[in-house]
């Protein structure tokens, strides 16, 4: 018996040892021990006019071994000289950070943002990055980019118009695939694609037949997805996967699998770091320095300083926050929770060896804000009697400015901020991001102030007077009815929009309490977090109010928050009408889509005014002129709004970096993703002083 038990035990032990020995390595490529940070001598001081170039020690070894051309041949003819923020750095080190989903988009924003055009570091506009320069024709219908001569992909192949031609002709215009379709900003007004011409190896010309392209090139600078995912196509590499060029029976599916630069090790890229390893379970990414990267510092050292960026996938937010508090990540943008996490992370900062970048804001124009659906229609099953007539009465109410103003002045914002935010937030009505470039300068600031302070003074008596004037009498249960006398329950949809379900739940509970007691409006909270119909309820116009997070820096590349030109937010169906080409749309209603062409804005309605202003902005040739049109549109929101009941905004965010990280700019806005922070700065100049 004893013998049997001990055999059993040893079987367990041996079994577990065999299993651990059998475990295959996560990545076959990673056989050598991780290299220690290869910090070397600080680069020697040289005259500012850079004539001689230095490189990372690991690359120098490869040059010596003959496996890599010398640095002068790898750099473009005119390398871009980047002035370091604090100091010329030392080479070496692997930067560890995390993400929560396979696209690792939050890390792509570090460096995969150097499109032909990128955001300026202070977010006040755009500047050339991957291309040397660009210009528009006087009528704006032609846009020309001049590429950098001698710039190369990370495998040494030249980057020329051939790559653009490949993308445009073989991918984007190819009717056999639908994944990389031509976005609306590369189309003429009539919906046909603009033409793209390549007169020589380094010149790209966009031509529209019927509209100015003043704004459209800036789309390339938005987030990590517009350029990196859609336009960055190494023709020499991808041709092997394209059905047209191969005889090995490759399909479009094979092509799609290969054409993901952030998941395909060896995919040539143009950024400071390119993907070299991805563990077989998809949980660990390594981006290694691009030996052909085109920036140097003021002493001629080729960037980046940091050897590699390592990303682990940690799906659970609480686990990430704990890891952050322990100082596990060298840089942590967008992974350590929201404003309510700041006190906890501050307590552990000393132990964890990290500090906050305290000028990193969320950029929230409203967080939370309650969108009031201007296109409310039947179909949302918010009550038993879900008919078009009933819906129309509610829509008329929601479209009534007096009603929305009553909502906006009918509650005490400070109390909501205390409940949901522990007091950390500015009280304001909804706006774009306070840091938006439309608000730069004295005039912009005045517009911002007027908008943010519009209808925020709590005045229950005035609010009740407005509701009384609308004919909303109180019924038997003490709650106000619709003007017709039908009972009315105002449904507020909420999700974790903005990143925290708790904030939205806490805030909505407080809103319900206040609107019910102050105004006698019956409120129902509809928590639809994780429900697959969240989008349907918004885009088909089924919701009444929805808890939202509003933020945007450049409203012309992301017009959704100001102009009803897309199928979204608080003008979902009027926006759809504009996006589907207005009266030209002929699609017939189908199951679950009662308004496939949206709703045409009524004459003189705010939606009509705003759509006209959007077209005006698109046709305006100067930056200042466009800002002025934006201010005009904001004036519509001020005088005919509010369309969103903003509660608070401009919260700071917990962005932490280890104390040894150098050259990191302490400014960014992480709520909206389009401004691509921290990619507003040049991450290639970051270095580790350890």
């Amino acid at each position: 018996m004893k013998a049997k038990l001990s055999i059993l035990f040893s079987l367990l032990v041996v079994g577990s040892m065999i299993l651990s020995a059998c475990g295959t390595p996560a990545t076959p490529a990673a056989t050598e021990a991780p290299a220690a940070p290869q910090a070397t001598k600080a680069p020697t001081a040289e005259p500012v006019a850079v004539t001689k170039y230095n490189e990372a020690p690991a690359l120098a070894d490869q040059v010596k071994a003959g496996t890599l051309p010398p640095v002068e041949e790898r750099l473009p003819d005119q390398p871009v000289v980047t002035t370091p923020l604090e100091s010329v750095g030392k080479y070496g080190g692997t930067l560890h950070t995390a993400s929560w989903w396979p696209e690792v988009g939050n890390v792509q924003l570090y460096f995969a943002v150097e499109a032909p055009i990128k955001w300026k570091a202070d977010l006040t506009g755009y500047e050339p990055a991957l291309v040397e320069s660009y210009e528009w024709s006087t009528d704006g219908k032609t846009f020309t980019m001049h590429m950098r001569k001698g710039l190369k992909w990370s495998d040494g192949e030249p980057y020329t118009t051939a790559d653009w031609k490949f993308w445009w002709e073989d991918i984007a215009l190819n009717p056999d695939q639908k994944k990389w379709t031509i976005p609306s900003y590369l189309r003429n007004t009539d919906g046909t694609p603009i033409t793209m011409e390549f007169p020589d190896d380094y010149t790209i010309v966009w031509k529209s037949t019927d509209r100015a392209l003043w704004i459209d090139p800036y789309f390339m600078a938005q987030g990590f997805w517009e350029f990196g995912t859609n336009f960055m196509k190494p023709a020499h590499y991808l041709k092997d996967y394209l059905p047209k060029y191969t005889t090995t029976g490759k399909t479009w599916e094979d092509y799609q699998n290969a054409d993901k630069w952030w998941q395909t090790p060896g995919y040539p890229c143009l950024f400071a770091w390119c993907l070299t390893e991805l563990s077989s379970d998809g949980q660990n990414y390594t981006f290694t320095r691009n030996p052909y990267y085109w920036r140097v510092d003021t002493e001629g050292n080729q960037l980046p300083y940091i050897d590699a960026i390592n990303v682990e996938i940690v799906a659970d937010e609480q686990t990430r926050i704990l890891n952050c508090s322990q100082g596990k990540y060298d840089t942590a943008f967008r992974i350590c929770g929201g404003p309510n996490e700041i006190p906890f992370l501050a307590d552990n900062a000393k132990n964890g060896g990290y500090h906050f970048l305290d000028k990193y804001m969320n950029g929230a124009g409203a967080w939370p804000g309650y969108m009031v659906n201007q296109d409310y229609v039947e179909g949302g099953k918010n009550y038993a009697d879900d008919t078009p007539e009933h819906a129309k009465e509610i829509r008329d109410l929601l479209r009534n400015a007096e009603f929305r103003q009553a909502l906006s002045i009918g509650f005490d914002r400070q109390r909501v901020v205390d409940v949901a935010w522990g007091g950390i937030a500015d009280i304001k009505n909804y706006t774009l991001s306070p840091q938006s470039w439309h608000f730069a300068g004295a005039q912009g600031q005045a517009v911002y102030k007027k908008w943010a302070e519009n209808y925020i003074t709590f005045d229950a008596a005035a609010a009740n007077a407005k509701l009384d004037a609308l004919g909303m009498k109180k019924g038997a249960d003490g709650f106000r009815t619709l003007p017709s006398g039908k009972p009315f329950e105002m449904v507020i949809d909420i999700t974790d929009w903005g990143g925290s379900l708790k904030v939205q739940v806490d805030a909505a509970d407080e809103m319900k309490k206040q609107w019910e007691t102050n105004l006698g409006l019956k409120v129902k909270i509809n928590n639809i977090q994780g429900q697959p119909d969240v989008d349907t309820r918004t885009n088909e116009g089924y919701f009444m109010l929805r808890g939202a997070h509003i933020s945007e820096i450049d409203i012309l590349t992301y017009p959704d928050w100001l102009f009803p030109v897309v199928n979204r937010y608080y003008f979902p169906l009027e926006g759809r009408w504009f996006a589907r080409g207005g009266d030209a749309c002929t699609e017939q209603p189908s199951e679950g889509k009662a308004y496939p062409c949206g709703l045409k804005p009524e004459d003189g309605s705010p939606a009509q005014l705003l759509q006209a202003l959007y077209n005006k902005a698109r046709g305006t040739g100067t930056e200042q002129g466009r800002h002025e049109v934006v201010w005009e549109a904001i004036d519509v929101h001020i005088t005919q709004g509010p369309f969103v009941i903003g509660v608070s905004g401009d919260q700071p965010m917990p962005i932490i970096v280890k104390d040894y990280m150098k050259n990191i700019l302490n400014f960014g806005v992480v709520g909206p993703w389009a401004p691509a922070t921290p990619g507003n700065q040049i991450a290639a100049q970051w270095w580790m002083d350890k």
């Binding site: 996560a26 056989t31 990389w180 379709t181 697959p532 349907t536």
Partner: protein, 328 residues
């Protein structure tokens, strides 16, 4: 014996088909699918090409086909070793789960060893020294362990490890070893991390087993053959370990099959998520949330399979240890 095993294997196959089918039905119940969620994410961040991409994915993942077609297509490929593609990761499920299955088994066995190595001596001590101070302490701790949910304990241990011990507590490897090939150093690194999940499972698992061991042994100690052994003048240790414990341990092996293995395989799910362990559970739970159908289906089948194999092994071990049991 052979026919018994064959019969059990057949039952297991039927069970797996049923479980996988039912889980597919459940995943399909809510309105919408993975792509409606993905579309809203892409739109929310302002991706202008989202709508076009989604249709491509719908065709690629066969989400435009009827439910029964999807299930049978997946099941047929499963039999051929193709578990389908994870929607979220856009990678073959098989590739993603490869090392994680191994890790799940290692963790399960490590837990089992720790739990048993602690529960049996503690139970024996508790029974032999009934109502002593030691017994009272063990009993109290057992009830705490029984009552405490694993994930809560995991959070407490994490907090303690981070704020007091200042050690790295999540994952199974340090950042430097995650991608490394297996080596002695990596193994040491693994054991440095393994103690936390093992400790958590031990605290939650040991309590119950200790109580059972204690109760059984108390019953056995009162039996005439124990008296007889003592009367023959055998040493106390021999009486307890050779005569009483070998009888009292049988129910523990029954529990190993019926409760312990499923408990360890299934119950560790939330702990794995909290500790970010590279087992199949974090992927499983995430796939359920995202309606990532083929990933979730494969995880369920694997978990069922591991449980059924564990059950069968426990039954065989019991028959081997206790000659009175016949398997027919």
């Amino acid at each position: 014996m052979a026919s018994y095993i064959i019969r059990r294997v057949l039952y297991a196959l039927i069970m797996i088909v049923l479980v996988s089918f039912v889980s597919f039905v459940i995943i399909k119940l809510p309105p919408g699918d993975f792509l409606t969620q993905k579309l809203s994410q892409l739109r929310a961040r302002g991706d202008r090409s989202a709508e076009g991409q989604i249709e491509t994915y719908r065709v690629r993942y066969n989400l435009d086909k009827p439910f029964l077609w999807q299930y049978s297509h997946w099941a047929w490929n499963f039999l051929h070793g193709d578990f389908g593609e994870s929607f979220e990761y856009e990678r073959p499920v098989r590739e993603m789960l490869g090392e994680r299955v191994t890790m799940t088994i290692i963790l399960g066995i490590a837990t089992l060893v720790v739990v048993w190595a602690m529960a049996i001596p503690l139970g024996v001590f508790s029974a032999v020294k009934q109502y002593s101070m030691g017994d009272q302490i063990i009993t109290t701790l057992s009830f705490v362990g029984l009552g405490m949910p694993g994930f809560l304990l995991a959070l407490l241990v994490l907090y303690f490890a981070i704020t007091v011990l200042d050690v790295e507590a999540t994952g199974l490897f340090s950042a430097d070893y995650v991608n490394a090939a297996w080596s002695w150093a990596r193994f040491v690194d693994l054991t440095n991390h393994l103690w936390i999940p093992a400790f958590i499972s031990a605290v939650t698992g040991v309590g119950g087993l200790t109580r059972i061991m204690r109760g059984n042994l108390l019953d056995t100690l009162g039996q005439p053959f124990v008296e007889a052994a003592r009367a023959r003048g055998l040493k106390n240790g021999t009486v307890i370990w050779k005569h009483a414990v070998r009888i009292a341990i049988n129910p523990l092996i029954v529990i190993l099959g019926s409760e312990a293995i499923p408990g360890i395989i299934g119950g560790g799910g939330l702990v794995s998520v909290v500790l970010n362990l590279p087992t199949i559970f974090p992927l499983f739970i995430d796939s359920l949330r995202k309606l990532d159908m083929y990933m979730a289906g494969t995880c369920i089948v694997l978990i069922t399979l591991l449980t059924l194999i564990g059950n069968l092994l426990a039954d065989l071990v019991l028959a081997w240890i206790d000659p009175r049991i016949r398997l027919e």
